[in-house]
């Protein structure tokens, strides 16, 4: 970990994006130009010659002093298996960017590449923080006029109850630090909110989470059902906890619905000249609708619980989304992520150990 006083450093893997490295570099430039943000630095990891050629362009001039280049030309393909990556791709840009975090030269890493590889490399090279077994992949879901953190979305498809509890702590911490939600409301996803519903895993985690809530370690609000995810009401949940299988299916299904709907609306509204004429009067409404259906806006999914910060941006992110991802990442890095979270995890551990002795929960 770097010194508190210095501005945070983010290693950005510029390779492995569907839109090519230039899109990433432009996104980074925009983030560095954002005036409202406190200063931070980036290390651009990728093909050095290409990066140098791109940032030689005039518009990069004002941010050059805050950029550094780390050459790593090899790229991890989207289809490569994590096991193969761990063994054979040590010199790839993603692996090198993670290495920079491990060596303390950078505080975090942002990559658009292969998610499985990023989870594997992150877990193996950076290791979970003390008290945690595994990291959890979180994502911010835009729910029309609010948003919530969903985790885990695929890092751990078959967690233990203990790991679900850890996800709740990690999600709570991320939500308060990166999204600036004070005392985020946590819900555990199940299929019926009555006591005794759901499966054994959920029941066990539920009991433990209630215990943590009773000690004010997290603001756990109990079991929630699928229909509450997009509900609009006062008591909406900020962090939705589930296993990586459910989370991944849900995330992908939601993205697929939004994409499909956007296309469908477009087709219906522009079907004939009369409708197109009508749309002229809708102007801003259509823009708002399109923006709401663009699920990728909160692009950066953090892999939480490791000793360094790892952010995954969507493979198809454009420069605006990359800019947003960089800003979210640096905000999280700035918060010095470690201490508060660490305290919560250890408190939870302690509490569980006592409870186990008293046979209150079995975990």
């Amino acid at each position: 970990m770097r010194n508190r006083g210095q501005p945070p450093v983010l290693a950005v893997d510029v390779m492995g994006s569907d839109r090519g490295p230039k899109e990433i570099l432009e996104g980074v430039r925009r983030a560095l130009c954002t005036r409202t943000t406190a200063p931070f630095r980036v290390i651009l990891v990728g093909d050095g010659g290409m990066i140098r050629a791109t940032i030689a362009e005039r518009r990069f001039r004002s941010v050059l002093s805050r950029m550094e280049i780390f050459h790593a030309a090899e790229v991890i393909g989207m289809e490569e298996s994590p096991t193969k990556v761990l063994r054979q791709k040590k010199r790839a840009s993603m692996a090198q960017a993670i290495e920079l975090v491990k060596e303390g030269r950078s505080d975090g890493v942002l990559s658009c590449g292969n998610t499985g590889a990023l989870v594997a490399l992150g877990t193996v090279r950076l290791r979970p923080i003390e008290g945690l077994d595994r990291p959890a992949l979180a994502t911010v879901i835009p729910a029309i006029d609010r948003r919530f953190v969903l985790l885990d979305v695929g890092a751990n498809p078959a967690p233990t109850a203990r790991q679900l509890v850890h996800s709740a702590i990690l999600g709570s911490h991320y939500s308060s630090v990166a999204l600036r939600i004070p005392s985020p409301k946590i819900g555990l996803l199940s299929i019926g909110t009555e006591e005794g519903k759901g499966n054994a895993l959920v029941q066990e985690a539920h009991e433990t989470l209630k215990l943590l809530a009773s000690r004010q370690i997290i603001n756990y609000r109990g079991l929630i059902e699928g229909f509450q995810l997009f509900q609009e009401d006062g008591d909406s949940i900020d962090v939705v906890v589930c296993d990586g299988f459910v989370g991944n299916v849900l995330l992908k299904a939601m993205e697929s619905i939004a994409k499909r709907l956007k296309k469908f609306l477009r087709k219906e509204l522009l079907r004939n000249p009369l409708r197109i004429f009508g749309c002229l009067f809708l102007g801003a409404a259509l823009r708002t609708i399109r923006a709401k259906l663009s699920a990728e806006r909160y692009g950066a999914a953090p892999l939480l619980g490791l000793s360094g910060a790892v952010f995954k941006a969507h493979g198809g992110s454009d420069c605006r989304e990359i800019c947003h991802a960089v800003l979210i990442a640096q905000r999280f890095l700035r918060a010095g992520m470690g201490e508060e979270l660490h305290r919560q995890v250890l408190q939870a551990q302690e509490l569980l150990r006592t409870a186990e002795k008293e046979e209150k929960v079995l975990i």
Copy 2:
């Protein structure tokens, strides 16, 4: 089971709907009036006096001869636990309607009531058909310009691999019989389509399903991911198989998204007079969009795999949706659901037993 020659009989639980019994009765009337359908009969189960008073109205005259009343005034509340219902609510309309199927006086039952109670009563009173352990609750999801069957959506939250395989067979049969899709394409929901991805349960079921596909028992197309659910392409899946936990979360989340979006679009499009003016030119487009977002249109969810047909309609179904549900149910009953399905289940059993001996699959 009743004779093949006679028109099918459907017992309709007229109590337990959010909109009251009159809405149900009107829905049933409309279904009976639908001319394109072959004749069928209904037994209206509920408060006899109230039913008699309603169907005394003039518009019921033409269908009176095809209706019968079975008095059962007690109602199962939406919040009552299945265990309590099984013990204490034997005289409730839902329980009595199921009893009519058990006694052979009716071929199937349709209810808007408490899902948990319906699953429990159906399973305990009608029993799974030979070779199956448990029923699966299916639902038809409208995916913009196509639709697919999703199962299980909550009857069995923690199935074995064997039960997932049974769900695939049940879904395939339902899809071909009730939705008239020849050789429906089956997909098993997972979180990565590469071999070895997902969890152990999915992997085990996947191997067995491949075996069934190789013998042409079902048209299994392999593992699918969440983003394929709403994809628009030639090879779209007709039946999506998952465990009852994932299915329930997914179904409720999708319903919640559709509902939320409908409200949001309405608000955005009618925000000011200019936009309202623009909407005048959109006419049919807005109606189409609204209809597509109404997830309840395929309202009746069948509880598959029991020795009698059990259909669950949405608690808030209006008379159009009830009409649709009745028509789907009678079509399924007419197909004499038993034989073909039974043959497939037994074939699968046989195949699995052989494979187990040869240690090809462990199930």
